[in-house]
Structure formats: C-alpha cells, structure tokens
Symmetry: C2
Subunit: 336 residues, 2 copies
DNA sequence: TTTAGCACTCATCGTATGAGAGTGCTACCG
DNA sequence: CGGTAGCACTCTCATACGATGAGTGCTAAA
C-alpha cells in the first residue's frame, strides 16, 4: 500500500498542477514538466496505478487525471510542503492580535477581513454567541431627548439598543432595576439565564418600556446573533469551478442560506485546533465539491470562536493551513 | 403623441404579460388574451406603432415584443394600477414601526428583512452613518476582570468596544476624560468632530489605552459603518434574466463590490420620498438592465436612511411601490 | 380601419462530422 | 522486468447544416 517515491512525486505534481490550472493533467505534459527522464507511457502506467489505488479520478476516458478526495488527503497529510504566510499579511495579523480589544465580534470581523484578503477563499467565522458568554453588566445609559441606550456587556461581547422612553417615565427606575439584575446575575452564563428571571425584574417596569426591554434581552439571549459571518464571496465565486450557471447558483444558495455553512464550520472546527475536511469528508451533500480548512479558538477548554477557509477541493491547502495556524496562535494568545 | 385607449391597453398588457412570463409577447397570443375581438394583424399594427414611438423593443426580428425603458416608464407613471401590500406583510411592518426602538441600524436591518421576504427583490439599505448623527454620550462602562466597554451613543446609533485595561490603570481617569469630552461635544454632529479634538482629550490618558480609545473613536467617526446592506441575493439571482452565466457573474460582482449599488441607491433615493429608476435612467452602466424603487427617509430635512428594491427591469413595480410607500410612511412616523 | 394571406427572418434544436487530447494495450528493447 | 514506442480507441468540443416554428411586415381586399 505504501507508495514508492516516484508515485508520490507523480501524485504531488498532479495535485499541484491541477491546483494551479484547474485543468485535468495528461501524461504527456506531466512527463515533460516532471523532468524525470521517463516517457509519457511510463507516467501513464503510474497514473493507472494511482487511479486503481483511489488517489486519482478521470472526468472521462480521454481527459487526463484529477486528484480524488483520497489523493488530496494524502497530499495534505504527507506530500505537501508547508509554506509560511506571506510576510505582509503576517505583519498585519500580528499587529492586530497585539491590541487590547477583547470583543470577540470585533476580532472575528477583523480576522475575517485579513483571511479573505489573503487568498481566493470564502472566509467564514463564528463568534462565541451566548453559549460561552458570562454576563458582566446590564445598564441603561441616558442619552438625552427622552432616549436611552440599553447595554448588555459580557466577557466577550456587547449588545445595545437605543430606545425612546415613554412620556413621563424616568430612567431612574429602569436603571435601578437593571442594576439589581446586573448584580444578581453577574458572572452567570447567558445560557443559564431564563426568561422568568428577566420577567421578574421587568415586572417593576411598566408599559411599553417593559416590552422593549424584554425584547432586547430576549434577542441578546437567543442565538440569533450567533450567525456565521461570511466574507470574500466574489473572489470565491470567481474560481473556474463556478463557471457553469448551475454550479454558481448552488454556491450562491449555499452562501445565502448560511445554515449549511454554519453546520460545516461547526463540524469541521470541532473541539479546537486546525483541521482539514476535503470533499466528501465534509459529510454535507451541499459541500461535497468543496473543502474547508477550519479552526476553533479555545479558551479555558471552551471553543469561543471558529473560522473556516472554504474553497473548491482544488484550493491552496498550504496557504490556507499557514493562515489558519497563525490565526489560532495569535488569537489564543491574545485572549488568554 | 397621446396614445389612444387601445394602444395603452396593448402596452399595459404587454408589460404585465412580460413581467409575469419573462418571454417576449407575440401578436397572436396577445390578441387572444386581450379579448378585444380584433385579430392579431390589428394588434401587430398597434405594436408596430408603439415600437415606432419607442415604447417597445424587439429582441430580434421574429421574437415578439418587449417593453422598452420608455414603455416601462409610461406603465409606471400612467398605466399601472396601484396595488396595496399583502395583508400579512403589512401587519408585520406596522407592528415593527409601532415599537419604540430608535436605533437606525436595527430598524434598517429589520426593514430589509421584511422587504426581501416580500418579493424577489434585492433589498438594499443604508443607515444614517456619521453624516447626520449627533453625539449624545461617550462613556466607559466597567465590566469586571480588568475589562471596560467603551460606548458611544448618538441620536440614532450606538457603537461599542470591549477593551482590556492595562495593568494598574483605573477606569476613573478614563471615565472623567470621556465625561468631559461628552459634555463638550454633546449634540455636535459627528462629522464636525475632528481628530485634534479627540486627541486633546486623549492626551490625559496614557499608554496602550490611548491608542485603543483613539482607534475606537476614529472608527466611529469614519464612514466605515455607512456601508450599504444587502439582503435577498439568492431570490434576486434566481430570476430568469440571470440564467446565462455571464449575467449572473455580472450580478454577483455588482452585489459583492457594493460601491455601485451604494451609488445607485444614493442617486435614486435623492432627497427623500419614493422614486423609480428604470434601466438606463439609473445612469450607471452596470445597472443598465436593472430597475430600482428607492426611498429616502427624512427627519428634520435630513435623509437619515435609504432603501432600495432592485430587480430586473421586468420587476413587479406595483408591489415594490406599495412596499416602498409603506416603509416611508411607517418609518418616518416612527422616528418623528 | 380591419383583416386574411403570404413571404421572409431569425433563434433553436438535433444531427453529423472532424479535430484534438488522452488513454490503454501490446509488442518490443535493454 | 521495468521502460518505451506505437497505435487503435474513446470522448469532448466546436462547427456546420437543415428542419422547425414562432413571429413579423406588407399587400390587397373587405
């Protein structure tokens, strides 16, 4: 089962050629570019063997070879040469993670920008959401002209809503009620906060304001914010695999109704660290033709953020892995 | 130049047929569906006249007729029968605008959701950004464990950033400095606030914290937030006009690099009220084949939010107009 | 003013055809 | 026994061709 040296060379060359050109690789061109001093017929034999072993596929009888999922897998695990990040992007990333911002939403957004700028990937990211957040503070900031800003602060995000106070209502009562709630629930995981807890406090507030307050708190506690964020659509869609209208349509749909992407990201990023899922390994029918390099950021044993670099299976795994590892290192250090 | 009754009937029928079917309309079918008791030859003559007057186009010699930009224009201005919004969507919209939320970002987001759910449009929206915002409050909320939430409140949005305090620094100084700044600049338009104003205050704060504070304030004052928001891509792209790969590619590009869409929205929504731009009228080469129903929300003579419903020229103008007018009414009332 | 009739145009679709790229196999070589 | 040359075979893709059908424009007549 072990592949000999030359087979590995051939497979690696096919993967790298195909990644670069998006065209199936024929034996003639490969014999030439490989420079091994063997003829195309020899390469053909090697290719036939690799195909029999499941590392290559043929789109059709006379079209050259294309790596199979197993082929990509072997390439990623054993054949590929790791490649460090581009210097400029590396510098920017470092700089960002040295800052003192602790707001995950912000960090996720900035990281996504850097990731999608670095290649033709679709960069997806998922913040901590309510799952791992602990309440720190709940407040109502008077903002003049009868308006008040409701603010909820947790250990890694802030939510707010600007609301108009009903006539004749003073902010004092509201602030007091929130202060009580704030003290009571200090340090409690948002997930543990039930509606009845909120409602008992809100009872002291009357009328319209109660509804708005409850609506705000409910929105904060619901997972609605924990939605996957997606950057880099157009460079992703510009890839040659999406030239046909059918494919592009599929991809657009995948992006727009982001549930599938979210599931993909959750599954692939798992319990932290960097992982690669290739084609069928993604276990989602919609993403059978895509790959993802995913990572989960851990803090105190909890995964607080996840990122993924999604591309066609023919993506630049070395680049994506270098990016992913750097994000993992930088971000975990930043929030530790 | 005035069109007689029958010509108007014919034009209207062609527009409505074409909107429904996306196929060019022939004289035979039209003669049948119109039920005027005249033959296809008569209709052919009318069509030839309408084409000569510039209200119809021919994709090619033997393909039936299609409305021209002028044809759509006349339809929208004079021929179309206004149609009220669908009841359920109307109810939801009403309910939303009766709430007391004054945060434009939130309102824009919710409105876009409703708009894109109501039809096959691409719903675009633009919040007030810094242009029309007036500072209300600037604060630093202690959040425990050495973290502090910087909060900036204006009359229609809130910005925040969660930052880690450097060791040994107390929030007191920070809060005092912000309070001073807050009082000084109370009610001042964000656009008027210059960097030197900020820096003079920040001078009292030392080290890393100053950098983070300035970075936060700069981000608040820059237009970065005033980016057009886009919802409904996939339903928009599912329209038959985007069946060809070239067209769909164009459209995706238009959406992703949203500058053009933003410009379109700004131009079309103008100084408030509801307006329609059809095809060439959009004055952007990229959107020559699209139409937009746009509206600007005014408050005290300033446009604080803009929305657009973008579709192929063959869009359902009656529906889009009904939606637009309701948003205009509801939102202006809500924030007045 | 309307209509019937007819020649004409043009996109579309299916089929045929040839070129080109690439494979698999067989026979042969060192 | 691994490597190579040669050749038949397969399959896609581009092109051409003709048939089909929808629709028009025009003319002459009602």
């Amino acid at each position: 089962m072990e592949l000999d040296r030359r087979k590995r060379q051939v497979l690696r060359a096919i993967v790298e050629d195909y990644v670069a050109s998006a065209e199936p690789i024929g034996s003639r061109t490969l014999a030439r570019t490989l420079g091994l001093g063997v003829s195309s017929a020899t390469i053909r034999n090697e290719m036939a063997d690799l195909e029999a072993l499941g590392f290559l596929d043929k789109p059709h009888t006379s079209a050259g070879r294309v790596p199979s999922d197993r082929g990509y897998r072997l390439y990623v695990d054993e054949l590929m040469e790791p490649r460090p990040m581009e210097a400029e992007a590396f510098r920017r990333m470092r700089l960002m993670y040295l800052r003192r911002v602790r707001e995950m939403d912000y960090l996720v957004g900035q990281t996504l920008k850097l990731l999608s700028a670095a290649g033709d990937f679709l960069a997806v990211g998922l913040g901590p959401g309510v799952r791992t957040a602990r309440l720190r503070r709940l407040d109502a900031l008077e903002a003049g002209e009868g308006q008040v800003a409701l603010v909820l602060v947790t250990d890694h995000f802030v939510q707010h809503r600007l609301v108009e106070m009903p006539d004749g209502m003073d902010t004092g009562g509201l602030q007091r009620a929130l202060l009580v709630l704030s003290h009571e629930l200090q340090g409690v995981g948002l997930e543990r906060i039930t509606r009845s807890m909120l409602e008992s406090v809100a009872r002291e507030i009357k009328g319209r304001m109660r509804e708005e307050l409850l609506s705000f708190l409910r929105d904060c506690l619901s997972d609605s914010e924990e939605q996957v964020r997606i950057v880099g659509t157009s460079r992703f869609l510009a890839q040659p695999e999406f030239r046909e209208p059918g494919r592009i349509r599929e991809a657009v749909q995948l992006i727009e109704q982001s549930d599938a992407l979210q599931e993909l990201l959750l599954e692939a990023s798992g319990q932290g660290g960097v992982r690669v899922r290739i084609g069928e390994e993604t276990s989602l029918p919609e993403t059978r033709e895509l790959s993802i390099v995913a990572l989960g950021i851990e803090r105190q044993g909890e995964v607080v953020a996840r990122f993924g670099l999604v591309g066609p299976k023919r993506m630049d795994y070395a680049k994506a892995l270098a990016l992913a590892e750097e994000v993992l290192r930088g971000l975990e250090q930043a929030i530790s």
